[in-house]
Point group: D3
Chain length 333, copies 6
């Protein structure tokens, strides 16, 4: 039988837990959540919105660890099973020969994308305003910093895991200096990861004639897109503004394989919304923010990592075929 | 002995639980709260701010059910005992012959009022802005929509359960396009439920020379008013703005029987404020929002339904005579 | 030849000045502007946004006169020629037997509509918030106040000059407590001028996919609609928000004769925008706000009165057939 | 051996609990938290942000008790052990012969400072805006009110526990009418506690080139400063603004003994941040607000009282020498 | 006959121009306005909101001169006739031995008050926020700086021209970091001009049940109070907020001689409002801001200096007895 | 003698008027201002913020013409003398083969830069938010559109008139969706005008420890930089926020020739600020916005074009050597 997931191949040791009995949810939470508690490192205030990839038979990742000054830092974490992580007590440092961009001040909401034999790290960097930082590692020990991708203000940069039409593609969400009340996803192109252009609008918050919905304030790309036979499967977050603040939930979209700024399907309902104590209570209540997904093309399993309440890290699971069916049947582009 | 409650008569099967030992609270929570959890229907994100009435020996109601897109819908629910409800998995639809108003887009914060042999449904409707929708049913299966009561922007429409001076009376709270930072209660008159006029101001937030209090930002009518020998007993919500958002609590007022825009008493303290985990944590923290009250004139019992944290539904109880005594002794009009 | 203007008949003494040589403007300013300067009454700070009708062979009107405390009052003004006005030094008072609404606190932006042998006055009244006040006079000396038309918050109430389908029709613009950044025009119905219902949306600001235009923030009805053979001709104001405040310009629309909430044409360009010193400088810079129009069905002449810079009153002229042609050829509904 | 703490002397019955096994925290929470629950008095909505001092072999204090109208009142509390408190059911009243300042309307966030044989009470008072109220008691039964210290708007007034250079010193944080988004600490001088001058800036929020940190929005003094051999030890709160509101954490600074507006050290990391359910959930989520500290110069023990979530009162402990070491090694002035 | 003006005595060379023919205004503008144009000094962007006193047979003053960087500086100006001024091209510098307050960064809206043989200068100073600076000169060449009067944020400090009850009195208007939307006048006491206390509320903006008026947003003291037989005559500015910004007008109040925080009369109408081109157009449109008054007790003449449009300086005149009559007959405390 | 201006060579017919007698201003206004009035084209509401270059012995340009719907369009204008312009009555259209970017919706604040034999047009374009549009023409009749330079939100894109280090350089000012209250100038690099990277921060608003100054809110590049022997001479606008809105003035900076993100000098005072009636009054009061400069290397003359009050176009003149001297002597980087 043809496999649905094209990218990244077999991952027999993908973390996994079957859907709970009695549940009909398409995406379900891990019973051991939060898998990474806020003090997994004693120097950490919180560990969340983080990126995990398979690495040397186990797993490695770049984690957003706010330290006890609440400075936003990136740190390396490693795991044998993808569930129990050892998080470094020290912040990750990038090497760069360009002195101006080499001032690595803040890092948050990282993604890690394997491509061309490297692990590219994309994060929200501070260069006279928040913008998209870009670097790479081969060993999760030495990290090299490239030029910042865009001008400020920008967030949620996510690189596609392969070139399309001979060019690199980067999703991002143009933004504002503070807690931004708007946000659309765009795709930009590059031949060399330094110069970017041909910006294309992908999708924005769902306006729906003013009807309240979970993704009406802003949206942003989550894990790097998963290539399937039917298109790029993108998990993304959407934000609703209540009278007491923002609520971050997760949905999914299916993007055209060749022109991924063309959205084929997009979930009208959310897939997950904050409703456990560790998602509703913490540094920022009511935040569920996905940043990484592991896939096993053999079984069609997907394991998601998401930040909970800007405090800790949870996991959730789904089956790719079930998800694609649901997406097609509950879509509203 | 003369009964205090005039309206609605005997309801021997009113849901009830006595005051907990050791408590001196005038209104006390049900120990089984939340009686309706957020996923009582599998297609619901949350069920709250809802209206229940006695119906055919049991109970029926119209519920605010945000679905998993967080669209705000109304649904029918039924119950034998007033505590365990079966909530429809589908949204309630209204029938209307006027094409323009028949576009029923959103419904939230419903009230149900028995009057003239019908069950009138009043809700927050979206017609180029939020305003007061009006409809009716006789069987909780077929619902007819009438003309919208007011121009936008308005919320918390509550019909009186009988005509006064030959006219229908509707309470409402003129409002704003978004999360409104003000709100007074008015009463409007109608001879036919279509044309409304003679608008009278009832009461506003308590300014108190700028002193902080639980009802200083805005207020809104809750369940339809209970006719007592001493006046219309109105439960209402009041809102306080903290540095981290709105807090919704519940108080009560006694309105003049003939000119109900004249407030005779009004609780200076709240009767209930969010202090349980299901009221403090959820879709919107710190919300306790009453929408329905059952009464038994024989026993003087009152059973209240209220939305908790914009997520689930709780119940609370009180005795009408105790409440009226408290209201008179703790009033500050 | 058939006359275009249906309502109000002949007015041979309509104020008039032909289009200046070399101009191709559809609506042109009076060379004697501002016809009513700010201190036309020594007790006035400013006289603007005012309503004029033919009266006993001359002209009479209700004027917004802010006094030297900047309290917003209404005053009577009279004129032989429609250009030179004598403005009363004292505020107009309404008589009402209903004590609560009889507290006439503030009045601004009046319109005067002849109907059923009376002159109805509609203004922005303050009853626990700004709403639409309604009264009438037969002699411009005694004024009677009726019930307020709507709940707060509302502005720019304009009555149609005849019943349609046996009912009175009132335009209005639901609003906010302060300087409102939004505003759509609605029509409401009444059989008796006391009870109002059947609210219909007419039109809103022009969103145009976010493109900047002169009417993108809010709009509001100006003079009472002029009945023509092709529909109700409505002059209205539209507001643009610059980085330094609001700019009020004037456009026109043609509404269906029977269902006037259906807009047949609407000017994409403005007809007049503030560009003279008396429109650009004053109490509020960059305001041009029409409130009254005189028509002569014989000549097709229209004479407009408009407030300038919230300070004084100007006039402008047009020919109905030219205007309708322009409207049809420059429309964007 | 020389004792580090200079002020207040021995307090052998200081409340105390050793650091939990396995913890390396410099300041640790009491396992019996919250020691004062919100309903410790049946007339209280909440009890927090309060001041405790040793008194007659036990402990006494002035507590912020919001009543069930959410009015902000002060009340007296007493305790034998510093942990179990009896809170008065009635609000504390001040005596004053100056009629205008004698209108004691609101009281919140009190501090109590022993000085010259009296217990001075400093609180946030309402005199045409929030400012610093000042009074004193000798017996915690009769309270005398002095002149307000400053003009509005001001908060977090904290008196030094002895004169310096022959003058009283008062810290305060100039503020705004509402929920203020800024705030620096100043020191002012007085010879007589009535007239104040020679205002000196101490420190402000940490700007850090725009880097996010726990004290970036505003700061305010907590308990009255503890005199040590190395300087005045000041616990203070700092505020971070998230997309869902303010987060209040606690840090410490060491001020020069003679010129305490000169900051010698200041913790770059926080010492405590809200992370328990009673700190994260309540009337205002994510608030940890210290107002009092007991010290025992013999053992070097410090016991802190802090408000949690604007709802209840918790305690925490530390050792002065450990704290000073940490402060010096983790300082960023 | 008894003279009405008590303070400052004869000033036969007071600048003066009689009321224009046909005018009934109580305060009238000088026909030579603006007497000080914006470029009276070639290094000035603008000269306004300034203070003039009689000096050595002529006149001297401290002027707000924004330079061409728009930095707010103070400069000395001198005049023989009080109308034609020579403005220094350089900023005034204060001498102070206290190094911290000696950093004179910004100065605006100065007042000059003769008292005890000195000329005290009060201005809006910047010491970690805007507050009230205080200094003095005897010769308008050397200026000495005293301690700042209050903590930030404060503006419009005005010293009384003699001690009352043995104490100095200072008016001020507590304020905010930016363009403040509120403001009341207070009086504070001092024995030595260094330490200040006994703060008393004088008056605030006129709320008037929400009615629009010229002084509804904020108010602030203007020239130093003029002692008359009937009380302290205070000219002050009041601010109205339109949809396009603030409008500053001028009114007057009569304060009790012994307890000047008790307001005996206060003009309900304004006395002057911006209505000339030099008041309506400039750096900030619609600003008329009085800072100084000359008086001649023999003739009862008062000559006012006011800033116009934050750009230049105008003068206006009135007769004290006419003004007091008007004040009493048009008062609304 | 060596010429100071390197770029663009001789322009003997540069528009010119000598400095007025008695003036010492470095930059002076043209006595015929506004050279292009708002209705120079009968279909224009206003003509301002526009770009002029020498073309075929005369002058051509791209003008911001808001039409009478206040839509923001670009139009071509031509002139023999650089002073009297013929402005097209129709909007300029771009040709593009990429369908998505070819939707040319809005255009404002254009610059025109001669480079490589083409005239490049850079403007503020609307592609799901305002960003930098790029196109070119050779004949001012046919215009070709290239890819948008950056993601939204961005404004004030200005191309350097030659490559540096083999790369094109573009200045821009990252921005916000609305009237942005911040703004820094950056430089980005490109090898092909399609892909852009290596973003460098040039300079931001002048913070100056919070001192008020003319460029404290935001800044943006004006005409394309003029190459001089001492560096790139950049005219730019700076914005000050008053209580009644933004004020736009003009200053200048000298950038390093090889690394133009290094600022060598920057005027502390403004060079021009709005102070004529055509700059202070109009569509947006108090705006002076330079977009183009002509230079004659022989005479050192510079002629500037600037938008006035978002309404019309003015000119000003200076001598390059005088300006550079002034810049060096009045600089504050």
């Amino acid at each position: 039988m043809t496999k649905t997931i094209v990218s990244d191949g077999s991952l027999p040791n993908i973390p996994w837990e079957p859907r709970p009995a009695g549940s009909s949810d398409i995406v379900w939470r891990f019973s051991k959540n939060p898998v990474i508690p806020r003090h997994a490192s004693p120097t950490a205030d919180s560990i969340y919105n983080s990126a995990v990839v398979p690495f040397k038979g186990g797993f490695a990742g770049v984690f957003r660890c706010d330290d006890r000054a609440r400075n936003m830092t990136l740190r390396v974490g490693k795991s044998r099973d993808g569930v129990n992580f050892e998080i470094s007590d020290n912040r990750l440092e990038f090497h760069s020969e360009e002195p101006e961009i080499g001032k690595f001040l803040e890092g948050y909401d990282p993604r890690v994308v394997p491509l061309d034999g490297r692990y590219y790290v994309i994060w929200c960097n501070n260069y006279h305003g928040y913008t998209i930082g870009l670097g790479w590692t081969e060993d999760f020990e030495h990290f090299n910093q490239l030029e910042n991708v865009f001008l400020p203000f920008n967030r949620n940069g996510v690189l596609f895991p392969r070139k399309i039409g001979g060019e690199y593609l980067m999703m991002s969400r143009p933004s504002y200096a503070g807690h931004t009340p708007f946000g659309d996803i765009f795709i930009s192109h590059s031949k060399d990861l330094t110069y970017w252009g041909k910006h294309r609008h992908v999708m924005g918050p769902k306006k729906d004639g003013g009807l309240v919905n979970w993704q009406m304030t802003k949206i942003g790309a989550g894990p790097y897109p998963i290539e399937t036979r039917e298109g790029w499967l993108l998990f993304y977050h959407g934000v609703l503004t209540t009278c007491n603040g923002f609520t971050y939930s997760m949905g999914a979209a299916l993007l055209d394989l060749e022109k991924p700024w063309q959205v084929r399907y997009r979930t009208r309902p959310y897939l997950l919304t904050p409703e456990t104590l560790y998602e509703n209570v913490g540094n920022t209540q009511n935040v569920l923010f996905p940043c990484a997904a592991l896939t096993d093309s053999d079984s069609g399993r997907i394991a998601l990592y998401y930040g909970a309440a800007d405090t800790c890290t949870g996991m959730a699971f789904c089956q790719v075929d079930e998800l694609l069916d649901y997406l097609k049947n509950n879509s509203d582009v």
